[in-house]
Amino acid sequence: MIRTRDSRMRRLAVPLAAVAAIVSLAGCAGGADTAATPNTDIDQDVVFALKEDIVCVDPQQTSVTTALIVGRQLTDSLLDQNPDTGEIVPWLAESWDVSDDLTAYTFTLREDVTFSDGTPLTSQTVAANFDAVAGLGGAASLASGYLSGYAGTEITSDTEFTVNFSAPNVQFQQGATTMSLGIVSEATAAATAEERCQSIVGTGPFVLESYVPNDSVEIVAREGYGWASELREHDGDPHLSSVSFPIIAEASVRTGGLESGEYDIIQDLPYVDEARFTGDAFHLYAKPNPGVPNSFIVNTTRGVLGDEAVRQAISKSLDREQINVITGSVSGAAPTSVLTSSTPGYADLGDTLAFDPEGAAELLEDSGWTRDGDGIYEKDGQPLTVTVTAFYAQDVLEAAQIQLADAGIDLRIKMVSTGDFFGAIASGDYDMLGAGLTRTDPDALRTLLSTSSVARWAIVDDAELEGLLQEQAQTSDVEARQELVAEIQQLVAERAYVMPTLETVQLHASRAGVEGVTFDSAARVHLYDAMVVAD
């Protein structure tokens, strides 16, 4: 399980790796690498160090990135999405049809697909999957969110079925491309939530060999795999014969192990270590999570944040470029909208979100706030103080705190545990939340902002926004929806209901001898095309 390479071999391998790196740099730029082939003289086994225990293997239940990195390799989805264009393409379903009112989705399955336990993929299996997700409810919050309003699956034939919803569901098509709605075998779907967390059977290019909690996950290649989506670079079996995922909680051990060759790929390279791995001996993989970037998400019913001028002033006082330089990834960029640049439907609002300290001061002074010298603004004896509740990215909040203090705004940071963060959401007890929301569809904004959303974070009462959010959720025409989504982003940024601070980039690294690691539209890793080209 632990591989320690002979250092002499490694020295010999350096020139080889350098050549490979040049080849693959070209590949990185183009996003596709068709020239590279696996080196058949080398074992196609890689060690991929994860940063935390996956807790649950089942991608339908968990929505933690680490777990999904494993889950994505084990399960396929009905559809796939091109991360560059947002275009949705067939995968397990060879064709599909959406009703105009977005309440019925009809799919036709490929006929040759089997699960790793030998059972075939049928309409019955998919129906059992969706019924099971609906039954899991709160234990599978992301997947059941994609299926909100689920009214049952109608089976027409072994390969044809229709998924019905009681109300328009715009996010389902996108959700069907994610591993959250990845398809598991009928036996897995029938198992209890706990059993599924330990072991699942999917149709994916890899099969779960073992999962030892807090220690490691082992997966091996599936023989006879032949239903990769057209977005992958090759057909048939995966190049790698096995992947082991040791769970390495300590970041400096992950980076040290990558340098010494103990690990081939590591998850979550700390931004501060990025510069050490930019040379030819390593590949970096960086992608912002789609959805809402790390942001301040406001509660307009409490304190000074009910005042739009205050919210806008806070937004204008944030120098997002500087926050990105201080706390972000070298490969990342400052947020330029309330959706990340990797989200389908993203619209560039760089002007609205520009750093404008004079504008902020003017707004505050016009609405009656006064400031003595370098102090904090005051109005009717009340200081301009806002508290942000968060459970991660304290460095981002501290950078913002310094910038806001310069602008005369007192930002208090309240770091809490994950549970207390969601406890605050449940009780509405916060001024602002500091967090991001990962979703592959612009409907993320409705999830966050709509008064009727169960996962509502921002507390706003804005009829115009609510109307737009509901309208985009019921619009099946792509162009028309895109216009609505752009309008929503503009409105949310202008009225400062969501103030983005940083596009959180997922940063992984591998040694140069490993190639073909790609991201899917949800910024999770695909290892199907990955290969070892040099030792």
């Binding site: 709160g138 909690p213 220690d215 300590e250 545990s417 549970g419 207390d420 967090a435 169960v454």
Partner: protein
């Protein structure tokens, strides 16, 4: 029992006196476990926040549901509905069946999780205890026989570094040198003896340092005592004096310190298990506390309390074997009659 020649009366009187010696200690042991359970239960339930929500967030990430109905259903499923006193009694009685409940974060039985992690921690802790003990003994002897005085002073200054350097740092240094540099030992995992060595040594440093403090104090004390002076005056070999007189006298306080050391190791493993990415009780506890997975926290507390209580019991028992004065009391004055 073949070949036993002790007559029945004597053996039953010995058994009675052993029982008289041990029974109060066993009662004390049970009390410690109960008291620990109760205090931990009260503390955990006094904390603000919702444990079900916290544990759910481990799996749900930013998609964690805050829907009150869904939360209520989950609460019922993990036996966390109903009044607190009822949870206290039901869960405490369940302990006697070996039932530690179900983890909220993973859905696995807590007893299984602890059963899985415990041997890994015990292996490292045991190794650390052994290495620390032997290392401290060697240093003590070295310090005792070292001449001239400045060498002795220098030697006695080395072991305290074991406490001064945090386990976190020494662990990383060991990994850098022996895993990534020389490739002798794995940097992570729980497979086989080789994976125990580095974390074991990391923990042995502070453990050994404490042992050294106790040993050296006792040894130098004994070294300046009249019976060692007499032994030296009789012209006994230095080795004989050290082994037979000096070390033997230093053994008793070190037995006591082992009990405390095991308590320290229970806490110390959390850091080492994180640095070395090992599955174990310490890491399990850290994860459970972060996730507010109270069923796991309670399970760990009870198991550690039991281990601690049993170790104390064994140490007390060992005292009876080693110290002749205690032995006399134990056998109810038989020694006097004989």
């Amino acid at each position: 029992m073949r070949g036993q020649r002790v007559d029945a009366a004597a053996s039953s009187s010995t058994a009675r006196s052993v029982a008289r010696f041990l029974l109060p200690k066993i009662a004390q042991c049970v009390f410690v476990v109960w008291a620990t359970y109760t205090v931990a239960f009260l503390l955990i339930h006094a904390l603000p926040g919702d444990p079900v929500l916290a544990a759910l967030a481990v799996k749900g990430g930013d998609a964690t549901t805050t829907d009150p109905e869904a939360l209520e259903a989950l609460r019922a499923r993990y036996g966390m509905d109903g009044p607190v006193w009822q949870q206290y009694i039901v869960n405490f009685l369940a302990l006697f069946r070996g039932d530690l409940g179900v983890s909220i974060a993973t859905g696995q039985p807590v007893a299984d999780m602890i059963g899985r992690a415990f041997p890994h921690t015990a292996a490292v802790a045991g190794f650390a205890l052994l290495v620390g003990f032997v290392g401290a003994l060697l240093f003590t002897v070295w310090a005792y026989i070292a001449r001239p005085a400045w060498v002795r002073n220098a030697v006695t200054q080395i072991p305290p570094l074991g406490i001064a350097i945090p386990a976190f740092l020494s662990g990383l240094v060991l990994i850098t040198v022996f895993s990534f540099g020389l490739g002798w030992f794995p940097a992570s995992g729980t497979s086989g003896f080789v994976s125990i060595v580095l974390p074991g040594i990391t923990l042995a440093l502070p453990t050994g340092a404490i042992f050294f403090q106790v040993f050296s104090a006792a040894v130098f004390d004994a070294g300046s005592s009249p019976f060692v002076f007499t032994a030296n005056a009789k012209g006994l070999a230095q080795r004989t004096v050290v082994v037979r007189h000096v070390l033997r006298n230093a053994l008793l306080p070190s037995i006591t310190i082992i009990g405390l050391q095991i308590g320290y190791l229970a806490g110390g493993t959390a850091v080492v298990e994180t640095v070395f990415s090992r599955d174990g009780i310490g890491r399990l506890t850290v994860d459970a506390v972060l996730a507010r997975d109270i069923n796991v926290v309670m399970g760990v507390v009870v198991v550690v309390a039991v281990v601690y209580a049993v170790v104390t019991l064994v140490v007390d028992g060992l005292y009876g074997v080693i110290d002749p004065r205690t032995r006399t009391r134990l056998t109810g004055g038989k020694a006097v009659k004989a």
